[in-house]
């Protein structure tokens, strides 16, 4: 005798649907942080740890220029400080992008060039930002050059690695397809090679910006007399925790704004042909199933040996 046991799915217990949505979880996060913050504030010595409202007031005064604080730096207020940092970031970022793309292409195409650069790329990748921050300060003084170079040093290896993986992951079977149909090389470059590089290029942009920004702020702390990094150190030197935390929150807001207002729309436009995915998937060359399928299905063709994408997504975050 066979007994069929079925269990009816238990109806969602009490909670309305919107509470369980990812969107709600996302909105919930800052409130949880705020709760923990208040908890710590009331359990710890409040002279050391500022209340959330103290930080909020500080941030408001910084933005509205009503605090009366004049920084002991040529850059007098947050806007000028931020402008300087942004300028350094942008210049360094584009240099890293161009330099990294050129080296990345060369390294991806030629094994010899790869051998030439490999150890040094890994070395720089593993180097703490503090090391070159201090060195750049000593070598170049407190101008713009040091912080810009910091962005270049931090960002370039990531661009190199991502572009290299992109070149190594060129879809051979699509190129063969195009050749068999006698499609001219320039058309293959435009319609096959460049689009297949795009996900890697976008990953490169995101990583280079993120690590460049980190390297820059640290360098500004140690090797600059202005900029956001310098400003956060100003509040540290003044023993004002609300200043340090306030600026940390400014950083977070800036990062999120850039993500939502620049990177996401760019990526949406470039990748409207596939379902949404994040930079790590892109760096892994996951082309939304379609491409991957192509690689796996051609079982009787030689597939490129496994690529170490771990580096592209790992590194010193």
């Amino acid at each position: 005798m066979a007994t069929v046991v079925t269990t009816a799915p238990s109806p969602g217990r009490g909670l309305p649907g919107w509470v369980k949505s990812p969107k709600f979880a996302r909105i919930l996060f800052p409130f949880v942080v705020l709760g923990i913050w208040y908890f710590i504030y009331y359990t710890l010595d409040s002279r050391i740890f500022p209340a959330p409202q103290t930080v909020a007031v500080f941030m408001w005064e910084e933005i509205t220029l009503t605090s009366g604080v004049r920084y002991s730096s040529a850059a007098e207020n947050i806007y000028v400080q931020f402008g300087i940092t942004l300028m350094r970031l942008t210049i360094g970022f584009f240099i890293a992008l161009i330099l990294g793309t050129i080296i990345g292409l060369a390294v991806g195409i030629s094994k010899k060039v790869d051998a030439f650069f490999h150890d040094w790329v890994m070395g720089v990748l593993a180097m703490p930002a503090l090391v070159y921050a201090l060195f750049l300060g000593l070598a170049l003084g407190f101008g713009n050059l040091g912080p810009i170079l910091a962005v270049v040093i931090a960002g370039t290896p990531f661009v190199i690695i991502n572009i290299r993986e992109g070149v190594r992951n060129t879809p051979k079977e699509l190129i063969d397809m195009a050749r068999s149909f006698e499609v001219p090389q320039n058309k293959i470059t435009r319609h096959v090679l460049l689009p297949s590089l795009m996900p890697f290029f976008f990953a490169a942009i995101r990583y280079a910006y993120a690590v460049g920004w980190k390297g820059l702020v640290i360098t500004e702390v140690f090797a600059s007399d202005r900029g956001m990094g310098w400003t956060i150190k100003f509040w540290y030197d003044a023993h004002r925790a609300h200043g340090v935390i306030g600026y940390a929150i400014f950083f977070i807001i800036f990062a999120l704004a850039l993500e939502k207002l620049v990177f996401d729309p760019l990526a949406d436009r470039a990748f409207k042909w596939r379902p949404k995915m994040d930079a790590v998937q892109m760096a892994e060359g996951d082309f939304g199933g379609v491409q991957r399928e192509g690689f796996l299905l051609i079982e009787d063709q030689e597939i490129e040996e496994g690529v170490d994408t771990t580096v592209a997504k790992g590194g010193n975050f």
Partner: protein
């Protein structure tokens, strides 16, 4: 009329210990409105042969010519995986392999997409289509350049039986209408018997072992006695050639 001539064709990959003989001294003559299947165990050089014929690979030795009325013939290729550009729409995938983008060309692409019943999917991206639909786009792409000869490398082997069956019918219909020369690689003897006038049997080491004629009227229903008998005969041939075990 298209004519494929293969003389003393050999192909090796690698050197020293890695050396692999993919094809050995293959001689072949195929022409006209025929549907030729190439069968044989995995690794016997079937794909390599098509790749050489279509210009993706070059021969190690021997000679290959494909002519259409005494000039170079244009081949179309359908692969095992559809090999579509994922970042281009269905229509743009067809246009990618065309010589121009004239209205006439676009109308021709549209026509072949309709032949594979995808006339309403021209603006979709490949990722939005099922595996069977993607494969049909690949077939339409090959037909859309109106090639003189058509190479197909196990085009249905990754599809479910029902989809494969209906595509086989569509393909045969298109072959009858367009009078192409088709070279069709498969490891499915039933498929070969159902579709082709002629079956080339390859063995390990890339040798052409046998060349069989299947003289039965089309369309062939695999359930029909005559078709089943023909299939049994081909399978017996395989046994004789000791191909089943490998």
């Amino acid at each position: 009329m298209a004519e494929i001539k293969v003389e003393g064709l050999s192909k090796e990959f690698g050197v020293g210990e890695d050396r692999v003989v993919a094809l050995e001294n293959v001689n072949l003559d195929v022409g006209g409105h025929v549907f030729v299947s190439i069968v044989g165990p995995s690794g016997c050089g079937k794909s390599t042969l098509l790749n050489i014929l279509s210009g993706i690979e070059t021969p190690s030795s021997g000679k290959v010519t494909i002519t259409q009325d005494n000039h170079d013939a244009e081949p179309g290729y359908v692969f095992q995986a559809a090999r579509l550009l994922p970042w281009r729409s269905v229509m743009d995938n067809l246009l990618f392999v065309q010589k121009d983008r004239s209205d006439e060309t676009k109308a021709r692409c549209q026509k072949y997409l309709e032949m594979v019943q995808l006339g309403d999917k021209v603006d979709k991206y490949p990722g939005e289509l099922s595996g069977g639909m993607q494969q049909r786009v690949g077939i339409a792409r090959a037909f859309s350049i109106e090639p003189d000869v058509l190479f197909m490398d196990e085009p249905f082997s990754h599809l479910d039986a029902i989809t494969a069956r209906s595509l086989r019918r569509e393909l045969h219909e298109m072959w009858s209408q367009t009078k192409k020369t088709v070279l069709f690689v498969t490891h499915d003897v039933g498929e070969a018997v159902e579709l082709s006038n002629r079956i080339l049997v390859f063995a390990k080491g890339g040798k052409l072992e046998d060349d069989l004629q299947i003289d039965l009227p089309f369309p062939r229903d695999p359930a029909e006695d005559a078709v089943a008998v023909a299939k049994a005969q081909v399978l017996r041939k395989f046994e004789e050639l000791d191909l089943i075990a490998s």
